[in-house]
């Protein structure tokens, strides 16, 4: 233990090197901070002191004398405690005289030599006697607790508990002793005797005095929060063994809807706060990491170990500070910081995981596939003789059967993740330093055959250093530096390209190799020239290597202005981020041959299909920069039972993306709160900000919000012993904006302009000699941002002896001025670049809530929560004319509906076809084809019979159920997460190219064996009758997932302590462990079913060890 103990130190008001560095840092700081220091005036007379002060503390006096004389003062920490301020009138007095005057009546004396003044207790004065205090500390289970940090408050006396949980420390009667351990509530106990018994309690983080992070870097006591905010902390985040942070949020935050669409290494989930409210604009929340607006990628590539908390701001009162950017909600990420007066703590986490696909497509057997092909093309592609060969498998080159998923994929891919961080601090400096490494492997087998030795992977290195400095009593600085490096490597065609090919290439299309070992291209039937052998795509087509590095830094300075009035402070923040990337792709073609059997002499015949090319290099690179600056005045004060606070803040954001012109924001936010006796709370927030994207004179908008809360249980009339121990009712109403409008987001659309492009080659060659110029856009001079009016009503309650907590919020959002492409301008006007107009309206409403409980039963403690989110939107206006058939209007439907046919199963007989409305999508309609409803009853099924059908993959309901507990050193947790109300459409294109040949097709309609109107799939024949967009191909993607589970064991500290280890926990956890759904095609993950060709979603089993030194 000794090596961790910090010896007693002396406080220096001297020329210490630390002080010098601080000064240097400070000078490099904000200009106004420098000005502050320049403002301090002093006249210097060596060893003579001139001073006229009333009620100056000794500490201030020493500083003043130091300034005038350059003498240093040395004294024991805490010595000046209890000394009384003095009033002095000195004019050119010698130093000794000055000190004698100051020490009159104090229990102090001094000695001066060699430019130093040593201050100490006057002999004989009564000083509290130091004694040895002994004691024992136990953990929540009553077991001895080793490694607990112990400190005498206000003195530099520290100790720790040993393996038996006991400790000894020198303290005086009346001193306070503080006990702390990470993850436990810190306890402070007054010394009243010579022994102490302390029982540490787990910090469940539910306290009402807990501080909640709200917008713009502000914090608020939990009891006074009247907005709708949900938060999770590092503990939950680190439970999910995912490479991408956004994948760890599913089911954990009420109000957050997630969808994990793409699953390639490094990729993450789409996030929506309370669903979506715009059909064309950006619907993703604003992401803010430590004050700086970021891209979702910057958020999702953070290491969870660096993060203190993730909050989502849902209603207007919490987002209106962001004004024009706040309409889709805000995700606020706060990284970890150091802890004052704490010994350095070293945290190490190492994890090794295995990833495997949750689902892979299943392919028909060779014979089924051949029969299916014959049906598909309505001709005898495979004759009886062929079928015989297929069945016998005697000629695998002419009749190949390769399940590409089996052949090219391994059972599992590894993932490794290591983090080490250091955390601690002294009275005036705190630090958190972290570094981590992640390596996520990909599922491909045979990558060793890649000519360039490339193995697909995603690697990431994160580092961070967060430093806090209390420079003076009033000046506080914060300096953060963080960065990350990312590298993605893979085969030339890309992971998605490869999966698309594996999906498209049925097993009987081509083998892997020819008899002579060359790459095969086709079996009995030639494979089209533009198709590829998937194995060759993986191993012979070059590779890509994408690198990016991101660097960001924050400098914050805060100065108390309590000399003006108590509670007033000023703060400045500058933060930047730089992201550079370079993606390099080196691709080439390869030799492949169509093996056509043997000629009459018995020699094999090969026809070259693809021709090898040189490796060609292409690539792109770029840079994205973000700068954010804000300056604010804060006021926070309590008058009796009245608490008031106010803030006025000015900020600017500048974002530069590649060579685009910068995106700029500027604005003022204000925030005023009032509360009385922790019973009544009122808040007014105001964002006034603008963006360069709008016409002059229309750039700024005002975004106010009002909110109020009432804590019923704090009323004197409320019975103290009622079932409810806490109840707060709250509500908010406000306006926010969204300037990321249009699809794709367009800039400066108030401007009409021309652009070069197109062109036409005249003359006898295609040399492009005629340039082109176009009317680019006919501008909309009235363009403005989307406006959102948000109402939120909710309550928080604690009941049944504080075991249960319930939070519930109802919300209603009216989004107007949604930017839409004009649908009412006739085509004969002839404009191709018609600027969008602010004409759309959407209503979005729903609720979210959490019920949680927390209860200990002796050694066993249990906690859990259930949370639910429901969001449903409705289009109110969409700039479309009333269609000829009013039932084709999308107004009144949810965003994501589109026009399609209503399927009525499949035809089972020619008679039925003859007696049904005419369907002329194809030349012939046969039994086994899909039957559609004739909505307008005119006897013909055509485009007029399309109706709005649901084709949106954002769920309406999302819920999460988590349960966890601990017993002695063991702990466990599970998280179930479900979603309903989303669908996916197996679009005709997928139907045609990617879903053919899957095993599910054995359940198709068949004249003999499956002649049913409700056959799962229509006949195999390839007809455009069956590829119309219809309800037939709409599949519900409701699901329930065992999203996460974890079992951990913390080794008893008495074993660890002799090795200097404070805590060692081993754990196993997993992600996406089980899945239940109602899809009829169980070959995709419901969340990514839309993207049938993508990299599969993964199940992850992870082993880890977490060590605290």
């Amino acid at each position: 233990m000794d090596k961790f103990r910090i010896g007693q130190y002396r406080k220096w008001y001297g020329r210490g090197s630390t002080w010098k560095k601080l000064l240097l840092t400070m000078k490099l700081a904000l200009a106004f901070m420098i000005l502050f220091s320049l403002g301090v005036q002093a006249s210097v007379f060596a060893q003579k002191v001139t001073l006229s002060k009333k009620q100056i503390t000794l500490e201030q006096l020493f500083k003043e004398i130091r300034k005038q004389t350059n003498y240093r003062f040395i004294f024991e920490e805490g010595l000046l405690k209890g000394t009384t301020p003095v009033s002095l009138h000195l004019r050119e007095e010698p130093l000794e005289t000055a000190l004698q005057k100051a020490f009159q009546g104090q229990a102090l004396t001094f000695q001066v030599y060699d430019g130093t003044v040593i201050v100490k207790h006057k002999a004989g004065m009564v000083v509290p006697r130091q004694q040895t205090v002994k004691g024992v500390v136990t953990d929540e289970n009553g077991q001895p607790f080793a490694g607990v940090s112990i400190r005498v408050v206000g003195k530099n006396v520290t100790a720790g508990t040993n393996a038996e949980g006991t400790f000894e420390i020198q303290a005086a009667l009346g001193d306070s002793i503080r006990f702390s351990f990470i993850g436990y509530k810190t306890q402070t106990v007054a010394v009243q005797g010579s022994s102490l018994q302390i029982a540490m309690e787990l910090d469940a983080g539910q306290g009402l005095d807990e501080v909640v992070v709200i917008g713009l870097g502000n914090t608020q006591r939990k009891i006074s929060v009247v907005g709708a905010i949900s938060t999770i902390t590092t503990k939950e985040l680190t439970q999910s063994p995912v490479a991408n942070l956004s994948n760890a949020l599913a089911g954990r935050l009420p109000g957050l809807i997630t969808r994990q669409g793409n699953n390639a290494p490094g990729s993450g989930s789409d996030l929506y706060i309370r669903g979506i409210s715009s059909m064309t604009g950006n619907t993703a929340p604003l992401i803010v990491v430590d004050g700086l607006p970021r891209t979702s990628g910057d958020f999702s590539q953070l290491d969870p170990n660096e993060i203190e908390s993730v909050s989502i701001l849902k209603d207007a009162s919490s987002t209106s500070l962001y004004g024009i950017q706040g309409a889709n909600g805000v995700v606020v990420v706060t990284t970890k910081r150091g802890i004052a007066d704490q010994q350095p703590e070293i945290n190490f986490t190492g994890q090794y995981a295995l990833q495997q696909p949750t689902r892979l497509p299943k392919i028909m057997s060779a014979e089924d596939l051949a029969l299916y092909d014959n049906e598909t093309y309505e001709s005898t592609i495979w004759t009886e003789e062929d079928l015989e060969n297929i069945r016998s498998g005697s000629d695998p080159y002419t009749y190949p059967y390769v399940n590409w998923f089996d052949y090219l994929l391994k059972d599992q891919a590894p993932q490794q993740n290591y983090n080490i961080n250091f955390r601690g601090g002294s009275k005036f400096a705190k630090y958190f330093v972290s570094g981590s490494y992640l390596n996520q492997g990909a599922l491909f087998d045979h990558e060793q055959d890649n000519e360039y030795g490339i193995t697909s992977s995603f690697k990431r290195y994160n580092f961070r250093s967060n430093i806090d400095l209390q420079v003076t009593k009033r000046l506080f600085l914060q300096v953060d530096v963080a960065g990350r490096l990312e590298q993605q490597k893979g085969p030339g065609p890309g992971l998605d390209g490869l999966f698309a090919a594996m999906n498209r290439t049925n097993p009987n299309v081509t083998g892997v190799f020819n008899p002579d070992g060359s790459i095969a291209h086709g079996g009995k039937v030639f494979m089209a020239t533009d198709w590829h052998n998937p194995y060759a795509m993986l191993t012979r087509s070059g590779y890509y290597d994408n690198n990016s590095n991101t660097m960001n830094g924050t400098f914050l300075a805060k100065h108390q202005l309590d000399f003006i009035t108590e509670g007033l402070s000023v703060q400045g923040l500058i933060t930047f981020q730089n992201n550079n990337y370079r993606n390099t792709s080196r691709t080439q073609d390869y030799n492949s041959y169509w093996y056509r059997g043997l000629d009459s002499d018995g020699n094999p015949i090969y026809q070259q299909a693809r021709v090898e090319s040189n490796l060609s290099t292409s690539g792109d690179g770029g840079v994205e920069r973000r700068n954010y600056l804000d300056l604010r005045l804060n006021y926070d004060r309590q008058f009796g039972e009245h608490r008031v606070s106010g803030q006025v803040l000015g900020n600017r954001t500048l974002r530069v993306n590649q060579d685009e012109l910068p995106y700029a924001y500027q604005g003022i936010s204000s925030r005023f709160t009032y509360s009385f006796a922790d019973r009544y709370f009122g808040e007014f927030n105001l964002g006034y900000n603008g963006s360069e994207n709008f016409p002059p004179g229309k750039r700024y908008g005002v975004f106010p919000s009002f909110s109020a809360g009432w804590v019923l249980t704090n009323e004197s009339f409320y019975p103290k012993n009622g079932g409810l121990s806490y109840l707060k009712i709250r509500g908010s109403l406000g306006w926010v904006g969204n300037d990321q409008i249009g699809n794709p987001p367009a800039r400066w659309i108030y401007i009409s302009d021309y652009t070069s492009g197109g062109g036409y080659s005249f003359g006898p060659t295609a040399d492009g000699n005629g340039g082109g110029y176009n009317e680019n856009r006919v501008g909309n001079p009235n363009v403005t941002w989307e406006k959102s009016r948000k109402l939120n009503i909710g309550f928080d309650a604690t009941f049944a002896n504080n075991i249960f907590n319930l939070t519930f919020d109802y919300f209603r959002e009216n989004r107007t001025d949604i930017l839409l492409n004009p649908g009412t301008v006739p085509d004969y006007v002839g404009v191709s670049g018609l600027a969008a107009r602010n004409t759309g309206e959407v209503l979005n409403h729903g609720f979210d809530g959490t019920l949680s409980f927390n209860k200990a039963f002796g050694d066993f403690s249990l906690f859990g929560n259930i949370q639910a989110t429901y969001a449903r939107n409705e289009i109110r206006a969409n700039d479309q004319p009333l269609p000829a058939f009013p039932y084709q209007s999308l107004i009144g439907h949810e965003i994501g509906y589109s026009l399609g046919y209503q399927a009525l199963g499949v035809f089972t007989s020619l008679d039925e076809i003859a007696n049904s409305p005419v369907q002329s999508f194809a030349a012939t309609v046969l039994p086994g084809d899909i039957k559609y409803a004739d909505i307008n009853g005119d006897g013909v099924v055509n485009a007029s019979d399309r109706i709005p059908i649901q084709n949106q993959n954002i769920p309406r309901y999302v819920f999460g159920f988590s349960l966890g507990g601990s017993y002695k050193g063991f702990d466990f947790s599970v998280l179930l997460n479900g979603a309903t109300g989303s669908t996916t459409s197996l679009t005709p294109n997928n139907f045609d190219y990617f879903l053919r040949g899957r095993e599910i097709w054995t359940q198709r309609w068949n004249a003999e064996t499956n002649n049913k109107a409700d056959a799962l799939l229509p006949s195999a024949r390839r007809t455009s009758n069956n590829t119309q967009f219809s309800t037939f191909w709409i599949m519900k993607t409701d699901y329930l997932k065992l999203r996460n589970a974890e079992i951990g064991y913390k080794l008893p500290s008495r074993i660890l302590l002799p090795y200097g280890i404070k805590s060692l926990r081993v754990f196993v956890n997993g992600q996406n462990l089980a899945l239940w759904d109602n899809m009829w095609m169980k070959e995709q993950d419901p969340e990514s079913a839309q993207n049938v060709t993508y990299y599969p979603q993964q199940r992850v089993i992870n082993f880890g060890v977490s060590l605290i030194l």
């Binding site: 106004f32 502050f36 403002g39 093309y377 592609i381 030639f526 089209a528 020239t529 202005l561 300056l631 005045l633 000015g650 600017r652 012109l661 500027q666 003022i668 963006s691 360069e692 750039r699 400066w748 401007i751 302009d753 021309y754 062109g759 036409y760 080659s761 005249f762 003359g763 006898p764 060659t765 295609a766 492009g768 000699n769 005629g770 340039g771 082109g772 110029y773 176009n774 009317e775 680019n776 649908g823 301008v825 006739p826 085509d827 004969y828 006007v829 002839g830 404009v831 191709s832 018609l834 004319p881 009333l882 269609p883 999508f921 194809a922 030349a923 485009a943 007809t1023 455009s1024 119309q1028």
Partner: protein, 548 residues
């Protein structure tokens, strides 16, 4: 307290600086690279570039703006689109098209988009400076603008009949000015005439080689011949006004004379092994070509070959001529195959046919890229993944092109107008206006003589000659985007396109059979295209065409 006041001052100053001094221009970032109209038209180069793009909606083999991989011939009795994809030519054949969704629907917008461009150009014309090195350039551009506008209005009239005339740039945000009604066909013709006359008066008969593809006086005259012919035909001339036929004959004669005076002559004789007929389509600028769509890049030309060639040659086998088209080729003795004495043998069908057949269609046994075409079971050219028709297109295809490695590519313009058409227009209009005449015979026979076909039998009645002229037009202009529109203007669609089509099956023993491939549907309403329903939804003043 002096120090504290100082703090206060500094803080206030900083706030003031941040939010007053800078805010005025912090968001003033309107980009300087936005180019206004004045900048485009005050420079003759960019003004010309602006006009160049007006050429991009001219038709081609694959229709620009539509699905790129099918040809219009597949929507009539010339060919079959092998893949059956919603929105392609098969919709014409099944009758599955309606005002909400039909193939070529985008042309409504595309043509009006080009018309807006031309109107915009004309409105800014005065702003364009004169090119001192090439003083005629500015005015030439104006002529092109009028010529192109006439071309696009003709295309609109061909598809929809009466259409709104937009003769100036419409302001989209003006709800009053954008509500138009359909002008009559007479008004549209008068408008085309005005533009044609202006183009003729300004433009030369031909351009220097580097400018081939630009509109010429020749193209304007040929366009007017075509427009008058359509205007006189039964579809747009239900009262059979004979004056219109006479006007069409005059316009054709005027164009023919103008062509003769400017060295546009029939292509004769073979060159580099390519026959007199097929070389028209493979040469960069054949002597009989009056106007072409150039401006495609080489990739797109390769794509013709890619889509249309047999799988065995590396193509996609997308389009096949149908048996009805093959059967319409005369025997080399000038008789139809079903005429007595024709010598036609259905079990040896490809001998002694009109020489143009061999230069247009690939059939069983035809030599192509070094191999005979083989459609027998197991043969390399038999399409196995879709029901085959067992013919492929040879016209426009370039035999030396190797699709496997994209070598020997050839840049080919798409011919929009050539001299043969004027001859056919003239003969047709003359026969309709005044009955059979030597002049009418002469112009048909010029076309037949060029390919060594016997001359027409003399002494035909007006009806008999009409059939011969229509037949000659079908053969001579096969797959050149004429038949689809001719069956409409002649109003014969309900006869020729409303019955089953056939294909050829080459059996293992080398015998042939001719099964039915699919029924086809052509209804009365199909003669004119429907106005897109969405357009009527936006402007109920537009009256839909009959039957839709």
């Amino acid at each position: 307290m002096r120090r504290y006041n100082l703090y206060k001052c500094i803080a206030l100053t900083l706030f003031t600086i941040l939010f007053n001094a800078c805010s005025k221009d912090y968001l003033e970032r309107a980009p300087s690279d936005f180019i206004p109209a004045e900048e485009v038209f005050s420079n003759i180069e960019s003004a010309e570039d602006f006009l160049n793009n007006a050429y991009n909606n001219l038709p081609s083999l694959f229709k620009p703006g539509g699905d790129q991989n099918w040809v219009l011939s597949s929507g009539t009795d010339e060919a079959e689109q092998i893949w059956d994809i919603a929105g392609d030519a098969n919709d014409f054949n099944t009758g599955n098209w309606n005002s909400t969704s039909f193939p070529l629907q985008s042309f409504w917008f595309n043509y009006y988009n080009s018309i807006r461009r031309v109107n915009n150009f004309i409105e800014h014309y005065d702003m364009i400076p004169v090119d001192n090195i090439n003083p005629g350039r500015k005015e030439r551009m104006l002529g092109e603008a009028y010529g192109l506008r006439a071309y696009y209005y003709f295309e609109l009239m061909k598809m929809w009949g009466a259409v709104p005339i937009v003769d100036h740039v419409l302001e989209p945000s003006d709800p009053e000015g954008t509500i138009l009604t359909r002008n009559s066909v007479d008004e549209v013709m008068a408008f085309i005439k005005g533009d044609v006359d202006r183009a003729v008066s300004i433009l030369p008969a031909r351009h220097v080689q580097s400018q081939f593809g630009r509109f010429t006086a020749m193209a304007a005259k040929a366009l007017w011949s075509r427009a008058t012919l359509y205007y006189a035909s039964p579809l747009l001339n239900p009262g059979n006004d004979q004056n219109r036929w006479q006007a069409a004959a005059d316009a054709a004669k005027d164009a023919i004379d103008f062509a003769a005076a400017n060295n546009y002559v029939l292509s004769t004789g073979s060159v580099d092994g390519f026959g007199a007929y097929e070389r028209i389509f493979l040469e960069q600028m054949n002597a009989e070509v009056l106007f072409t769509r150039t401006g495609m890049n080489g990739g797109e030309y390769a794509s013709w070959d890619m889509v249309l060639n047999s799988n065995a040659d590396g193509g996609w086998a997308g389009t096949s001529p149908i048996q009805e088209m093959v059967d319409s080729y005369e025997m080399s003795n000038g008789k139809m195959i079903n005429e007595s004495g024709s010598g036609y043998n259905p079990q040896n069908p490809y001998v002694d046919r009109d020489p143009r057949f061999y230069q247009t269609v690939l059939y069983q046994g035809a030599m192509w890229k070094g191999n005979p075409m083989d459609f027998r079971p197991g043969g390399a050219d038999l399409k196995t993944d879709h029901p085959p028709v067992n013919y492929f297109l040879r016209k426009f295809m370039y035999e030396p092109l190797n699709l496997y490695n994209a070598s020997n590519t050839l840049y080919r313009p798409w011919i929009l107008m050539r001299l043969s058409e004027l001859f056919l227009n003239y003969a047709e209009a003359l026969n309709e206006a005044s009955g059979p005449s030597d002049e009418a015979y002469e112009y048909i026979n010029r076309i037949r003589r060029r390919v060594d076909m016997p001359e027409l039998t003399a002494g035909l009645s007006q009806e008999q000659l009409r059939e011969k002229i229509r037949h000659e037009r079908r053969i001579e202009l096969a797959f050149e985007d004429h038949r689809f529109w001719d069956v409409r203007r002649w109003k014969i669609g309900t006869m020729v396109d409303n019955k089953p089509i056939h294909y050829v099956m080459v059996n293992s023993d080398g015998s042939y059979s001719y099964p039915e491939r699919e029924p086809r549907v052509f209804q009365e309403k199909h003669y004119l295209f429907p106005i897109p329903q969405s357009e009527i939804d936006k402007n109920p003043q537009l009256v839909q065409n009959p039957g839709w």
